[in-house]
């Protein structure tokens, strides 16, 4: 399968081509190049998936992990070295398919959405760069290669959020995204270094062959030194901090809502479907280590995920900017995935390992329907030229295709069968109930909130009170085919994805797992979702939203706080500006300016003054040189005479 290297190289070459010569091309040509290359990458990914899963299981009943390409890049000592390579296993194949599909859809969609924008070629170059980095991240053979691509992903995200570089908000948002994720990546890097130092390798699974075969982690534990076992939970926890930064877990989520300043297709690709799930992917990648050495850290992942999901769902209920609602919904859904992974207690899918499969399944289905939601939102924004809900309302008769596809995505995210979200969310809920009923009921409540805020969004956009003056001045119109085709494609995927026998392909220890619905959980969650949708219908479908206004008025404090995202940005600003800047940075800056700088200034001044004094000796007059020469000769003579 050496051709898999092409999956990485093609987007990179397309980035170089478009980045260097793009400005001399016609925009349409540049876009076509990017899209065709991506189409090739998508086909190759599908081919890889087909061949890999077609290749069958090995005698242990799992799909073997393949490394079709591996190169030792930086050797440190005998066994510690950084490799660059390609690792194919069920989750990396899953991610390849997700990334290339969504990326291709976004490439096609951008033809319509970005038409006539300044820097169209640059936009496609950055999209190629992002796709390259993200694909490199998922096929990384070791944690350090993953880190390299992790940072590349961060850079391309920064570049794309700041695409409208003349807009101050976009610049601020791109900086915020970059700095917050970099701050989290510091934890990731320290985690990697600790991990590499103590286990003596950067590979994902030191001595894991033994775990997979033997009955539990004890067999492998003897392979690692005792010091490594002590610090591994710390290292894994720090790595999760990095993952939490990228995946916008509370309290590092603050960059994601602002990142919506970027072009909407970018939000769909990076900030909904692919990059933000990198943290989930990281946890899934390190899953055997978490289970084997640090189950308590894994459960913390679940608690953080659950809290984030709850927080984001509450905030999403009151936002008025449609992209922000979707952003918080993304944060909430990533929380779901984290919970799925975090509630696992063993590697066996039938006994406590169900959450792994559920989390990855939700990652897959969520990528599709969330990309669909964002692209639908993009079509709406394209039609009314605003993100605010107040400019919308009653759009269903103007934009039928967007309306239907958006409705499908809303039903999917709310967990209504037979759409894909139902199946994956249900597995997560089942896993959560198995772990602890408390987490299970919390997640069910969040699922109810999800259904509520998604249908609030849906009704406010497509039903409700129409903004007549805006719509008569500028009639909204359905988007062109280049934009509606991705919507229809993703909607079709959303309809059928739930019936994929996902457990066949991905499960915690690689053995086949047949998904069976837990009737009790399924019925409960569907009932809850339907009730929430009915409540949303009553509150927001009609022209007047008296009940919603009354509720907002009654719980005024809660409503305002949630609208301001519980003041998390302000708290961060307070922490950074008032505490970190004032108590740490200011004294350091003082020391730097007054001690270190002054020391060097003194050296410079001393040299300058000395030079000033002795420069008169070099006055260019031969006669004075001669006098110096003579006096030297006289002194030497006298010395010789005296000695």
């Amino acid at each position: 399968m050496e051709y898999t290297l092409l999956i990485l190289l093609l987007p990179f070459l397309s980035f170089l081509l478009l980045g260097i010569t793009g400005m001399r091309m016609k925009p349409a040509v540049a876009g076509a190049i990017g899209t065709i290359v991506l189409g090739a990458v998508t086909l190759l990914s599908y081919l890889t998936a087909f061949l890999y899963f077609g290749g069958g299981r090995n005698e242990e009943g799992v799909y073997p992990a393949l490394t079709p390409y591996n190169m030792e890049w930086l050797p440190f000592n005998g066994n510690l070295h950084i490799d660059l390579g390609i690792l194919l296993d069920p989750i990396s194949i899953l991610m390849l398919v997700v990334i290339s599909t969504v990326s291709l859809m976004v490439h096609i969609y951008s033809f319509g959405y970005m038409k006539g924008e300044k820097g169209f070629q640059r936009y496609y170059a950055f999209l190629s760069l992002f796709t390259f980095s993200m694909l490199g991240l998922v096929v990384a053979t070791n944690i350090f290669q993953m880190y390299i691509f992790w940072e590349l992903v961060g850079v391309s995200s920064y570049l794309l959020i700041g695409f409208y570089y003349t807009k101050p908000e976009a610049i601020a948002a791109s900086k915020k995204a970059f700095i917050v994720t970099r701050f989290a990546d510091l934890g990731f890097l320290i985690g990697i270094l600790i991990y590499g130092y103590y286990t003596g390798t950067f590979s994902f699974q030191p001595g894991m062959e033994v775990i997979a075969g033997a009955d539990g982690p004890t067999a492998a534990m003897t392979l690692l030194p005792a010091s490594a076992l002590r610090v591994l939970p710390v290292a894994l926890g720090l790595m999760f901090v990095g993952g939490a930064g990228k995946s916008a877990m509370f309290p590092l989520h603050i960059w994601l809502p602002d990142a919506m300043e970027g072009p909407t297709p970018v939000s769909a690709l990076i900030h909904a479907a692919t990059m933000v799930v990198a943290g989930v992917y990281l946890v899934a990648r390190m899953f055997p280590l978490f289970i084997g050495y640090a189950p308590e850290v894994l459960h913390w992942v679940a608690y953080i995920g659950a809290f984030t999901a709850l927080y984001a769902a509450i905030v999403a209920c009151v936002q008025s900017d449609i992209k922000r609602v979707l952003a918080f919904s993304t944060i909430s859904q990533i929380g779901f995935m984290m919970v799925g992974l975090g509630v696992c207690t063993s590697m066996l899918p039938h006994e406590g390992g169900l959450g792994y499969m559920a989390g990855m399944f939700h990652l897959f289905t969520h990528a599709m329907f969330k990309a669909l939601l964002f692209l639908g939102a993009g079509a709406i924004i394209h039609a009314v030229h605003s993100n605010e809900m107040s400019t919308m309302g009653g759009l269903r008769k103007y934009m039928p295709i967007t309306h239907i596809t958006f409705l499908i995505a809303c039903l999917a995210i709310s967990g209504i069968p037979p759409f894909s979200g139902f199946f994956s969310k249900d597995e997560i809920l089942t896993a959560a109930f198995e772990f602890s009923p408390f987490i299970g009921w919390t997640m069910s409540f969040i699922a109810a909130l999800t259904a509520f805020y998604m249908f609030r969004l849906y009704y406010c956009i497509f039903w409700g009170k129409e903004n007549k003056e805006l719509h008569t001045a500028h009639t909204p119109h359905e988007a062109p085919l280049s934009m509606t085709f991705p919507l229809m494609f993703l909607a079709a995927v959303t309809c059928v994805a739930g019936f994929i026998p996902f457990g066949e392909f991905v499960s915690s220890n690689g053995e086949a797992y047949v998904i069976h619905l837990n009737t009790q959980v399924a019925v409960t969650s569907v009932c809850i979702a339907i009730v929430s949708i009915l409540i949303a219908t009553c509150m927001y479908m009609r022209r007047k939203q008296t009940f919603a206004d009354k509720l907002a008025h009654t719980f005024k404090t809660l409503h305002t706080a949630a609208y301001h995202r519980f003041y998390m940005d302000e708290i961060w600003l307070f922490v950074t500006k008032k505490i970190i800047f004032r108590c740490i940075s200011t004294p350091i800056a003082w020391w730097d300016r007054h001690v270190i700088d002054q020391f060097f200034n003194f050296i410079a001044w001393g040299t300058d003054a000395t030079a000033d004094e002795i420069r008169n000796m070099q006055n260019g007059s031969i006669q004075s040189y001669c006098i110096w020469f003579l006096s030297g000769a006289v002194i030497l003579t006298i010395m010789l005479l005296l000695i």
């Binding site: 260019g620 007059s621 006669q623 001669c626 006098i627 003579l630």
Partner: protein, 102 residues
């Protein structure tokens, strides 16, 4: 016969007069004259030492002749330079020769 020391005293005085003139004079011609004085004092030394210490040999005389020839050529070049300087800046004071400084 005049003792050798008399010649040497004259040549020493000429040497130091020349040096003094070279160090103190700010006029190019005066400096040239001082250099000539130093050279001539050395010539006297050559001749005197040859005459008194090695009367049967002639190297000192020849060296003196050679030095006189060289100094004549050197003077011609120096005067040519000084004339050119005079043409350019209408005087030959050393302190005015700072065109190429800084």
């Amino acid at each position: 016969m005049v003792p050798m020391e008399y010649y040497l005293v004259v040549s020493t005085i000429m040497m130091f007069v020349g040096m003094y003139g070279f160090f103190t004079r700010r006029n190019l011609l005066a400096m040239l004259i001082s250099v000539e004085l130093i050279l001539n004092s050395v010539d006297i030394n050559f001749v005197v030492f040859n005459r008194y210490l090695f009367p049967e040999q002639l190297e000192g005389f020849f060296f003196a002749m050679f030095a006189i020839g060289v100094s004549a050529a050197e003077t011609a070049v120096a005067i040519a330079i000084i004339i050119n300087i005079y043409r350019n800046i209408r005087n030959i004071q050393v302190k005015n020769l700072n065109e190429m400084k800084n």
